[in-house]
């Protein structure tokens, strides 16, 4: 028996509504709070996507349904260039920092890490609550920044100075200051979260749960937490400098008085590239959990996957300058960074092939979580492979800051966040809410999402190869880009369909939460510890503290009659 598990008496009944659902200390409730915050912010980010897609397809025409947005933000539904830049900036910021991170790390990390390591809760429940309310505040600041005079930040989600450092260049004063503040709070929130995840995994594992018996989702979460903690510091320092440049009038990034705008790019991308893996790894982690369960096979090469992940995490710290090949940085540094960048393909090849090898000779059941897991793989392959073009310094001269880049990172991030996130959602929904989601609607949702997603972004690859630059308010000012309008109209219609394709999910999600088929503890016959707890688990998680006897992926072992063997079950 674990001594730590008895610490939490289940006394929900005595807790007031506020303590139970709002200022809750329960990691599962906090996880759900993150989930709903992420979904809400996804609506905001999606609305921005709709606006910018419309502008790109039919520039300077009224966006349908948007005439209610008052001047000077929009003019009877027409987007002015200033607001377009704010849309682009905030779409990126919201989607990466307030959708991807809260859902993949905040929601699933919080919900799953203690359950998967057999702990009654996080190591620091109060810190956990504080980290949620910090990101909640940050999200509100971000949304509020649309309503201040001058509007929201418009210097790109990368916020390159001098554009971001002085209001004279953008006309946006408070917007960018709030943007920096919101990001700083977001970073603080995930630093607290990361400390919690790491401490929980290191010191609160159930008896017998060695590091090399951890479910891969937990590995991905802690590698992501370590990467985040070690990469965000310099950007926090950089953000302080930027804030001082804006408010006090220092000149860290202003060249007239001895500053250097390139410093920000180095600090930003020192964080920015690892950040991609912070978002990517938990999505991959969800897929790694789902593949063995629905193939009824052990994951292929558990150790190889763990070591490759750590190697990729390490490499991610020495590749940042590949975002800066044409920035005017030192010529001699370019090829070393190009080589490290392309080397990242090796650990990811190992991870991907291990995932594919898991399918080989399996007994595959194509339930909705499995479909999304396969979708993640299929989409991520495109994202990873197109990265090779951008990692090659010479090809990047032409492709840098074109729509090719836009399409590439949407293929990587959407594979992780969208497909990986839905994999996790459909798979762990019964554990989170105690009910099963509807399979038929799930499959319809998957098919529509996969098709529409590709229809949105394949045209953008072509636009990028045609030389179309990013972040142009009206690309068709350029003669050589006029032929691209058809591509953009196609992508916009597909994007609208992609958004409509999310309706089956939303309906399914809320309907199943209250009316879905009641799930037992282990509806998928999976091995990992979270399935040993009741669905949904009470405060304190396990009715008897589990002990672990073997690795998480013993499926179809020849000596057993059943094709699965839960981690907490002795031989």
């Amino acid at each position: 028996m674990s001594s730590s598990a008895a610490a939490h008496p289940a006394h929900e009944n005595q807790l007031s509504f506020v303590r139970q659902y709002i200022f809750s200390l329960d990691h599962k409730v906090i996880g759900k709070q993150y989930l709903f915050l992420g979904m809400f912010m996804a609506l905001a980010g999606g609305l921005l996507a709709y606006l910018l897609r419309w502008q790109l397809a039919w520039p300077e025409s009224a966006v349908p349904g948007m005439s209610w947005i008052p001047e000077p933000t929009m003019f009877q539904g027409i987007i002015p260039p200033e607001f377009y830049n704010a849309i682009v900036t905030m779409h990126g910021t919201i989607m990466v920092f307030f959708v991807a991170m809260p859902i993949l790390l905040g929601a699933f990390g919080n919900f799953l890490v203690p359950l998967m390591v057999g702990a009654p809760d996080m190591a620091f429940p109060r810190l956990n609550m504080m980290s949620f309310w910090t990101i909640f505040t940050a999200a509100m600041i971000m949304l509020a920044s649309f309503f201040v005079p001058g509007g929201a930040a418009s210097a790109g989600w990368t916020g390159y100075p001098p554009l971001s450092a002085d209001a004279v260049y953008t006309g946006v004063n408070w917007g960018i200051t709030l943007w920096i503040l919101g990001l700083a709070l977001e970073f603080a929130s995930f630093l607290m979260g990361g400390i919690n995840f790491l401490t929980t995994v290191v010191s609160m594992r159930a008896p017998g749960l060695k590091m090399m018996r951890l479910p891969l989702m937990v590995w991905m979460q802690i590698v992501a937490a370590v990467i985040f903690m070690l990469s965000v510091g310099p950007l926090i320092a950089g953000a302080v400098l930027l804030l001082l440049d804006r408010t006090v009038g220092t000149s860290f990034y202003a060249v007239q008085k001895g500053g250097d705008p390139l410093l920000w790019q180095h600090l930003f991308w020192f964080f920015g590239h690892p950040e991609v893996y912070v978002v990517l790894l938990p999505g991959i982690g969800a897929v790694l959990e789902v593949l063995p369960v629905f193939s009824r096979k052990p994951i292929f090469g558990y150790k190889a996957i763990v070591y490759s992940t750590i190697a990729a995490g390490f490499l991610s710290f020495i590749v940042w300058a590949h975002h800066m090949f044409v920035s005017g940085m030192d010529f001699d540094l370019v090829m070393p960074f190009s080589i490290t960048t392309i080397l990242i393909s090796v650990p990811f090849t190992i991870i991907l092939l291990a995932m594919i090898a898991t399918l080989w000779k399996g007994a595959i059941r194509l339930a909705t979580p499995m479909l999304f897991a396969l979708g993640t793989l299929m989409v991520f392959i495109v994202g990873g492979l197109t990265g090779i073009f951008l990692g090659s310094a010479s090809a990047d001269i032409y492709l840098h800051d074109t729509y090719f880049v836009v399409a590439h990172f949407h293929y990587t991030l959407i594979s992780a966040v969208f497909f990986g996130g839905f994999t996790a959602m459909y798979y762990w929904f019964p554990k989170m809410f105690g009910r099963l989601m509807n399979e038929t609607w799930g499959k319809i949702h998957f098919a529509l999402t996969l098709v529409c997603f590709n229809l949105v972004f394949i045209p953008l690859f072509k636009a990028g190869l045609g030389g179309e630059m990013r972040r142009l308010y009206n690309p068709f000012e350029y003669d050589f880009l006029k032929p691209h309008q058809g591509l953009h109209q196609f992508a916009t219609i597909a994007a609208i369909l992609l958004m409509i394709a999310q309706l089956p999910f939303l309906v399914n999600f809320f309907w199943s939460m209250f009316k879905g088929k009641v799930a037992d503890r282990n509806p998928w016959q999976a091995n990992t510890l979270e399935w040993a707890a009741p669905s949904p688990p009470p405060h304190g998680n396990f009715d008897t503290a589990p002990s672990v006897y073997h690795g998480p992926y013993v499926y179809s072992a020849p000596e057993r009659k059943e094709d699965w063997q839960p981690q907490h079950q002795p031989h």
């Binding site: 190889a304 090779i388 045609g466 030389g467 630059m469 050589f480």
Partner: protein
């Protein structure tokens, strides 16, 4: 094979394009192989009554080879791509070949300014010629450009040249190109520089040697040291 790129009229554009195509074929093969295996497995190994999944942990070296050997192949291909790409990179971004046509490109919100040294061949003198959004060069000559910025970051992008270089305030960044065909082409800005980013559009005029001489005669200030005229041509 595919007509995806704009026309190429620079001496090094072909090198960049061939690096792209090299990667394209390698990556394309990987793409088809990867997707095909996933779809094959998903169909071939569907769950059927009576058939049990194989117990393969992939921890044995003989099994792991299925992953490690392809990873080693990827590593070799990576280095191949880097060697091919490295050459193209140093050609485009390395030492500028000797040239007597020198232009300073200055980005500012929201214009490209092109400064010619004038008849005396030196910048910063009275007879400099400043053009807004117009770059005139002769065909088949190396053009030595220096990229600067007055305010924020910009990126000097000439799609037909496959040339892109950020402009940073406080720095003078060298670049060069040599055009292989005459005509009029567009120059763009590839780095978000404010609300007028999309209007920051210039033109590149590639002339024959004779036309270029004629253009100099018509537009450049006279060689004699002129009085205190500013010589800025507004267009």
């Amino acid at each position: 094979m595919f007509d995806w790129f704009p026309q190429n009229i620079s001496t090094f554009g072909g090198d960049i394009d061939s690096v792209f195509w090299l990667i394209f074929y390698i990556v394309g093969a990987g793409f088809i192989l990867g997707e095909a295996v996933i779809i094959y497995c998903a169909i071939r190994y569907r769950r059927k009554a009576g058939r049990r999944a194989a117990f393969i942990t992939g921890e044995k070296m003989s099994e792991l080879a299925w992953v490690m050997v392809p990873a080693a192949i990827v590593l070799i291909l990576d280095f191949g791509i880097e060697f091919a790409g490295g050459e193209a990179w140093s050609k485009v971004k390395g030492e500028t070949p000797a040239s007597d046509i020198k232009v300073i490109v200055t980005g500012k919100q929201f214009n490209w300014n092109f400064t010619y040294p004038g008849p005396d061949g030196t910048f910063g003198t009275d007879d400099d010629l400043l053009l807004e959004n117009e770059l005139h060069v002769p065909v088949r000559k190396v053009v030595d450009i220096t990229i600067k910025s007055e305010d924020v970051l910009h990126s000097f992008f000439v799609p037909v040249m496959r040339l892109k270089q950020d402009a940073i305030p406080g720095r003078s960044i060298p670049a060069w190109f040599e055009a292989t065909a005459t005509g009029q082409y567009e120059i763009g800005c590839a780095e978000l520089c404010g609300y007028g980013h999309y209007t920051m559009r210039g033109f590149l005029f590639v002339h024959t040697a004779e036309d270029y001489a004629k253009w100099i005669q018509e537009r450049w200030p006279p060689a004699a040291p002129s009085a205190d005229s500013t010589n800025v041509v507004q267009l």
